[in-house]
């Protein structure tokens, strides 16, 4: 019940905010704040019982159990019947909670609050529409995470495009139109191809088993049953299907993450987006891609994930780590630097997922949340700085620590979480990914090289972030030109936006165990699926 409520509350908020009218921006933002706070409360109410329930499950499915996800708090309603009378099937409104999506839902609800707070004074025009789109975006993002129906997943995945298109295009910087268009077209092109893949796997299952279903857990179960068959013809069939479906899904998810050659929309979109847009784009929307890999691509096409996913996406992620870091170092614009650092950090995340072992996937999952908090925090702080001086160029600043003490403190702190300082959240995720990569056992992939690249990436992350800190916040004071208004340090509203993020970083850094515990069974399910694929690959090789 709570699960669909968190989808509905923002929508209701959006309608009310939109109805406030052009002049009612002031009331619209209170409506928006109320909606996101209610949603956060609902999410917490959902989370607290869920943690105990999810952690209490057996750590891995036994051989007798179906090798698939089993969501809790399920709501299932038929939307579009597609089957025949004898074999009913339907596209469903099928939502639920499990270990993989719980923390991403919490992250989304959590980051919405600073997103509304940071827009409080920054958005002056058409405020009612702004908050309406922001709330619709929340529904879209939460919808992707809670969906357990393939088509519902896709519907929400696509629906995030429209609000963000308007958020960037209407309230963005000078190049906002290009940025919005590029973002929309890149993502749409990828996801249309992904849709073909999603339909493809459904139809393949129907042809082989006679059962037409769009439910993700059932599909994974059916695919696993099929893959266990000894018949070479069936095996050959699934080999081909998996290859095509995996490549199609990769097209959709890789653009969203974004991985190296298709990342070009991201810096532009980040730089032009209003601060709230950047926070949500980096904090949540990029995770839709990596979550897609984890929830769909790996469990539905384990053999293909192993045979082409690991080499292909591993390489692309490794290139992205180094390339993103180098680009970040070269930027003069702070926001662009943070944007490129996202390319680099999301590379860690994808690499972690595609180690296909427990440590790596846990690390990837944690890194999704960590990156959401740290990069979201960085964008918040950059936005606050920009609001004061209306410039984001590093050379315009110097020694700001003397003038803006609190802002500098939080900037240094968030940079530390981002580079993986021990005791803060980034450290746990990065270490797990490193461990996972080191022990990864995929023939033909050099894990040592990948470990080296990750280590380089972590080091370079420190390099560009600390260089930026040195130039902007330390050294002799050099204030950008500004027309005489008094520049004050963080006010109460801004503190309310950034302090919870900072606290979350510490909490997650010191106590990551609840996250790992609640996700354990589902991560192990994915690992078991991948292990079965490893066994099959080894068997084929021996024959």
């Amino acid at each position: 019940m709570l699960v669909w409520l968190i989808l509905v509350v923002p929508l209701i908020g959006a309608v009310i905010a939109a109805l406030c009218g052009r002049g009612g921006a002031a009331s619209a933002r209170w409506v928006a704040l109320a909606s996101v706070m209610i949603n956060l409360a609902l999410t917490v109410a959902l989370m607290l019982p869920a943690i105990t329930r999810l952690s209490a499950r057996t750590p891995a499915p036994t051989d007798a159990e179906a090798l698939s996800f089993a969501p809790n708090d399920v709501t299932r309603i038929d939307l579009l019947p597609v089957g025949t009378d004898s074999r009913p099937a339907a596209i469903q409104f099928y939502v639920g909670i499990d270990g993989l999506n719980l923390w991403l839902i919490v992250l989304t609800s959590f980051l919405m609050v600073p997103s509304v707070l940071i827009s409080w004074t920054a958005i002056t025009e058409r405020g009612n529409e702004f908050y309406a789109w922001l709330l619709i975006l929340e529904t879209g993002m939460l919808g992707v995470f809670v969906s357990f129906d393939l088509i519902l997943f896709y519907v929400f995945f696509e629906l995030t495009l429209v609000p963000l298109y308007f958020l960037i295009g209407v309230w963005g910087g000078p190049l906002r139109r290009d940025a919005a268009r590029k973002f929309f077209l890149f993502t749409l092109a990828g996801s249309v191809i992904a849709l073909l893949g999603l339909i493809g796997i459904v139809i393949a299952c129907k042809n082989q088993t006679g059962e037409l279903t769009f439910a993700i857990p059932r599909l994974i179960e059916l695919v696993q049953q099929q893959l266990r068959m000894e018949d070479t013809r069936i095996r050959e069939y699934w080999h081909q299907i998996q290859l095509m479906v995996f490549l199609a899904m990769t097209a959709g998810f890789a653009v969203k993450v974004p991985l190296f050659p298709v990342h070009t929309w991201l810096p532009l979109a980040h730089v032009e987006a209003p601060t709230a847009g950047s926070v949500l784009l980096a904090g949540v929307l990029l995770k839709l891609g990596s979550y897609g890999f984890l929830r769909l691509a790996i469990p539905l096409c384990p053999d293909a994930a192993l045979s082409i996913g690991v080499p292909l996406l591993g390489t692309l992620a490794a290139i992205g780590i180094i390339y993103g870091a180098l680009c970040a170092f070269a930027q003069q614009d702070v926001k662009k630097m943070v944007a490129y650092s996202s390319v680099s950090h999301m590379g860690f995340c994808v690499l972690g997922l595609f180690t296909l072992n427990s440590a790596g996937i846990n690390g990837g999952l944690l890194q999704m949340i960590n990156h959401g908090l740290s990069t979201g925090g960085l964008f918040l702080l950059v936005g606050m700085l920009y609001e004061r001086y209306h410039t984001r160029m590093i050379p315009d600043y110097g020694g700001m620590a003397a003038r803006l003490k609190l802002l500098s403190f939080f900037m240094v702190f968030i940079c530390l979480t981002s580079v993986g300082f021990p005791g803060l959240n980034g450290f746990v995720g990065e270490m797990l990914i490193l461990a996972g990569t080191y022990t990864m056992n995929v023939p033909g992939v050099s894990s040592n090289l990948l470990v080296f690249i990750i280590a380089c990436g972590i080091f370079m992350g420190g390099w560009y972030l600390f260089t930026m800190l040195k130039n902007v916040f330390f050294g002799p004071l050099h204030e950008p030109h500004h027309d005489g208004h008094v520049v004050g340090d963080l006010n109460g509203r801004e503190l309310a936006a950034i302090v919870p993020v900072a606290i979350a970083c510490i909490v997650l850094g010191l106590f990551p165990q609840p996250v790992l515990d609640s996700a354990r069974r589902d991560v192990n399910t994915v690992v078991k699926i991948a292990d079965a694929a490893r066994d099959r690959a080894a068997m084929t090789k021996n024959q």
Partner: protein, 513 residues
């Protein structure tokens, strides 16, 4: 023989709804000559539409008394679909062109619209080559008049003449194909033709039949703006007013696709044991036509700056998607797939979004200032928020974003193509689906440009037009259909599935290569 006589006697009752429309058309034609009033004749025309619907629901004919191989009309599953689409489409088209018409032209325009709707509805039940041809001409001839009526002047003249000449040419092609079909089978009755062609003892289909079908596809390809028969569309849309352009974008496509479905025998009067087996060549022909149509339509649309030309090319592209549905049905080895329901669903979705888009254009234009360039729509969200929102909805539906009819339609088409692929040995339909997906991405580019102009830019020269009550009503119908078929498509899908269920019993062994 007794049954034959009863059939011939009662055949006129089968066309009662269409007769009601033609009667209304005659009244409006005649009366309009003496007294010119938009409101009066508009009301009578709408009464005609409603009367026809009442006749349709109240006068079921007992089919057990009739023989399909003799009757020139046969109310099959598609008939109901075609009539509903034609009547609702007719009313919406009447409403949307309301503000564009002056009192002097209104009666003629409405009468032509009634006649044309009768023609479209008749295509749905035609069971005879001659009746089918007549029905198609009953659509074309009023169209010539309507293209010229609301707006006179050189461009409209050119548009009307261009359409006239090419339409006659395509009709000739169609007749040519029909003559071969008659030559092969010795009958003009469609049911009889299919019975003759699907006989068990027929060793091989005559080669002439392929020539006949190529001619037929070419002739009807003109109506559904299939590439390479699409050349007239952008010029004609550009030259004529918005009402006739919307009509031209929608009605001939409905008629054309329904006619093709009938001619290929995908649905027929009764359960035929063996389907008309056109081997592998017909799927290939339709495959090529579909890929060409969608690709050319989308790629050329990218370069358009004129909004009506862009909508024309977008219409061509959407025809390509629908042809994809037709191509999958023609691939018989996959028997009983859902290509036909997908096509019929997309046809309604396409109608709602395209007619809706033209209605918005009509509303923002005035007699003095016609909106032609995409740039002129800049800042529409500021000056006309509700019109801009409606237009954005239709454009998102054309892109195929979820929660709009366009997405559900594309989803069904992709489903049917991929189902066909996995059953056939070759990868033909997989490639068709991939090409369609790439095309959908290309399409997003130019649709998004219009959304961008409306929402992300400010008005240079605000548009003067405003939407009248009739236009608003038409827009509301289109928008409701678009959202309803996108958000909760169960009813619509059920409707098209009942209309487009292949009647043949599949027997793969009977397929001849």
């Amino acid at each position: 023989m007794d049954l034959t006589v009863t059939t011939l006697q009662s055949v006129f009752r089968l066309a009662a709804p269409e007769a009601a429309l033609v009667l209304a058309a005659c009244i409006v034609f005649l009366g309009g000559a003496f007294y010119q009033s938009k409101c009066l004749w508009g009301a009578i025309a709408i009464a005609g539409f409603i009367g026809s619907a009442i006749v349709m629901f109240c006068d079921p004919v007992d089919l057990s008394e009739l023989r399909p191989t003799v009757s020139s009309l046969w109310p099959g599953q598609l008939t109901f679909y075609t009539r509903i689409v034609a009547l609702v489409g007719g009313i919406v088209l009447l409403l949307m062109s309301w503000d564009e018409l002056a009192d002097e032209q209104a009666p003629d325009y409405f009468a032509c619209l009634l006649a044309l709707t009768a023609g479209t509805a008749l295509v749905g039940s035609a069971n005879e080559l001659i009746t089918l041809f007549l029905a198609l001409e009953l659509i074309s001839i009023p169209t010539y008049v309507m293209l010229y009526l609301p707006r006179t002047g050189k461009p409209a003249q050119e548009a009307a003449v261009k359409y006239f000449l090419l339409s006659i040419f395509s009709s000739a092609l169609l007749l040519f194909g029909f003559s071969y079909l008659y030559g092969v089978t010795g009958t003009t009755n469609l049911a009889a033709i299919h019975e003759a062609l699907t006989r068990q003892d027929l060793p091989q289909l005559p080669a002439l039949l392929m020539a006949a079908f190529v001619m037929i596809v070419a002739g009807i390809g003109f109506r559904i703006t299939a590439v390479p028969f699409h050349f007239y569309a952008p010029d004609v849309y550009e030259g004529t007013a918005n009402g006739p352009a919307a009509l031209l974008a929608f009605i001939p496509k409905v008629a054309g696709f329904v006619a093709l479905i009938h001619l290929f025998g995908f649905v027929g009067p009764g359960p035929i044991l063996h389907t008309l087996d056109l081997g592998t060549r017909l799927p290939l022909l339709l495959w090529i036509l579909a890929t060409l149509t969608m690709t050319v339509g989308n790629v050329v649309a990218v370069w358009q700056t004129d909004i009506k030309r862009m909508l024309a090319y977008s219409g061509i592209a959407h025809s390509g998607y629908m042809l994809m549905g037709l191509a999958t049905v023609s691939h018989l080895e996959s028997g009983g797939n859902n290509g036909l329901p997908a096509l019929l669903f997309y046809l309604i979705a396409y109608g709602a979004m395209t007619v809706g888009a033209f209605t918005v254009l009509q509303a923002v234009s005035t007699r003095e200032r016609q909106v032609t360039q995409i740039d002129e729509l800049a800042g529409l969200s500021g000056t006309h928020p509700s019109l801009a929102a409606a237009f954005a909805l239709f454009l998102f539906s054309m892109i195929g974003l979820p929660l709009t009819a366009g997405f559900t339609g594309k989803f069904m088409l992709f489903m049917s193509a991929l189902t066909t692929q996995s059953q056939a040995q070759d990868r033909m339909f997989l490639w068709l689906a991939i090409i369609a997906a790439i095309n959908a991405a290309i399409g997003a580019f130019y649709y998004l440009r219009v959304v961008g102009a409306m929402y992300l830019r400010s008005a240079i020269k605000p548009l003067p037009g405003h939407v009248g009550w009739a236009g608003a009503l038409a827009l509301a119908v289109c928008a409701v259909v678009t959202i309803w078929m996108g958000c909760y498509p169960a009813h619509a899908v059920d409707f098209v599935r009942r209309s487009g269920q292949p009647v043949y019993v599949m027997d793969p062994a009977a397929i001849r290569r």
